[in-house]
Amino acid sequence: MDEFMLIFRHEDGKKIASPEQMQIWMKATMDWIGGIAAQNKFVLGNGLLFDDARVVHHNKMVTNGPFGEIKETLGGYIIVKAESADEAASFAKDCPILGGEGNTVEVRKIIRGEDMH
């Protein structure tokens, strides 16, 4: 069993949702994660705040947020256990953020010690 990171990319992180929408979205996300955890395949997860974000550039210049500079922003990630990238992708298919057009979930296998040899 390998571990995969499912990375949530939002097309427009600035889009403001109503509290009602946020509540629905949050519940849907918790149900989605709960479903993975019920299969004993959830490892961990974190949401990433857009507020108070910084981008540090190669010349050590610091700018506020990734906003307006890149089209897509990271909204969060979870790490799951799966037999294959396909199984991990099948988890991703049910991710509620995909309800937003243009949003994506990227599936990446996490490198383990033995993968390096």
Binding site: D31, G34, G35, A38, Q39, G45
Partner: protein, 410 residues
């Protein structure tokens, strides 16, 4: 008649006090000796009291006898050592140390023994066994009954556990303050298992099962009474136990058969325990730490409201979502899926239920049997039958048989 009722109850509570104090007194190397002296003390009471009457202060009588027996033992071994190895030990005529049976020493000793028997070096089922023997005054027969095992197995298990404690030189003392959180976790796991052993055990002896629950609560109370171990997680565990225990009187019919939650008469639920549980749950919410016990206690609190409301099941579902993220268990996975079906309907829950990967678990097939009803009754039947075959106890088989009988044939 009255005496016969008095004695078992008295024995149970006093045995644990006497044996804990004696264990503390003699040290971890001589746990068995402490158990023996406690047993002999109670045996003497059983042989004497029926004929001479129960003494006015039975507890004090027991303490005096236990003290004397300990003193005699000390004198014997002291003499033995004095004859065998006089050069090695320069001990002059030291009097036998007094055994301290003050309330404070009793509760301190019990708490310290709780930490000692829940030492991570011995397996959980041995921890539970030792706790039952030393701290709850259970006989080997009763322990064997509770574990659906036999005397020899339990004796061997306890023997190995005592050996291990000796080998590890586990001290009968409070762990250092810095080590308490970790050691406390191990103690809580054992108390949780002890409670579940009573609440869900397959043993047919309902009296023993309920006593396991009560004893687990009594030991948890010991932790709550000490400032260093009165933590939010301990309060949460106590709340969980209270909420579950509130349903004990409603869980079985006059023949001892199990009554399922939805069929229980809520008038029989113990309101006092529910109120107590709410008190502990409030105490548990101080601080920011959220343990699995907090989540389970909150789920149990929702179950003290019998009425099915969308709000209730929505909350239970979210709590199980979080519980599973914190720590997976098949029971939590099954209960979460049941809650999901309550919130979103059977059809929506079925695909998730199929993914749980728990085939071979009777409760898994019982759940699928439930969810398939009205959607695919043939599948429902197959799963209920599978659950029936896998189920190990008669009451469960009966419940499943009733469900099979009531299934509409299509």
């Amino acid at each position: 008649m009255q005496q016969q009722e008095l004695i078992p109850h008295l024995f149970r509570t006093e045995f644990s006090r006497v044996s804990a104090v004696l264990c503390k007194h003699f040290g971890i190397d001589h746990i068995e000796l402490a158990e023996d002296i406690a047993s002999e003390t109670f045996l003497l009471a059983m042989e004497t009291w029926p004929y001479k009457g129960v003494p006015e202060n039975p507890a004090a009588w027991l303490y005096v006898v236990a003290k004397n027996k300990a003193k005699n033992y000390f004198a014997r071994t002291h003499m033995f050592h004095g004859k065998i190895a006089p050069e090695l030990k320069q001990t002059t005529d030291t009097p036998a140390p007094e055994i301290d049976l003050s309330d404070k020493n009793i509760s301190d000793s019990q708490l310290q023994m709780l930490f000692a028997v829940c030492h991570p070096s011995i397996p959980p089922e041995a921890q539970i066994g030792l706790a039952l023997r030393i701290l709850c005054g259970f006989g080997i027969d009763e322990i064997a009954n509770a574990f659906l095992s036999n005397k020899e197995t339990i004796n061997k298990r306890l023997f190995r556990a005592r050996e291990k404690l000796r080998a590890e030189k586990v001290a009968i003392e409070m762990p250092e303050t810095a080590a308490i959180p970790q050691r406390l976790n191990a103690v809580l796991t054992t108390l949780y298992l002890l409670y579940n052993e009573g609440y869900y055990s397959e043993s047919q002896d309902t009296v023993i099962r309920e006593e396991l629950c009560i004893e687990a609560m009594r030991l948890t109370k010991l932790l709550l009474d000490h400032p260093l171990t009165n933590t939010p997680a301990v309060n949460a565990l106590m709340a969980l136990m209270c909420f579950h225990a509130s349903r004990l009187p409603a869980r079985k019919d006059e023949n001892g058969a199990l009554i399922l939650y939805q069929d229980q008469d809520e008038a029989l639920w113990n309101r006092t325990l529910i109120t107590e549980g709410a008190f502990y749950l409030r105490a548990a919410s101080q601080g920011s730490a959220l343990s699995a016990y907090h989540l389970e206690a909150t789920i149990a609190w929702w179950h003290t409201i019998k009425e099915d409301t969308p709000e209730k099941w929505d909350n239970i579902l979210q709590l199980y979502n979080r519980l599973l993220q914190l720590q997976y268990s098949p029971v939590a996975a099954l209960n979460r899926t049941f809650a999901l079906a309550k919130v979103k309907g059977n059809a929506a829950a079925l695909p998730e239920a199929e993914k749980l990967g728990l085939s071979g678990n009777p409760y898994y097939h019982a759940l699928l049997g439930e969810l398939y009803q009205g959607i695919d009754n043939q599948q429902a039947l197959q799963h209920l039958q599978q659950a029936w075959h896998l189920s190990k106890t008669q009451p469960e088989k009966q419940t499943l048989q009733q469900k099979i009988d009531h299934l509409p044939t299509t």
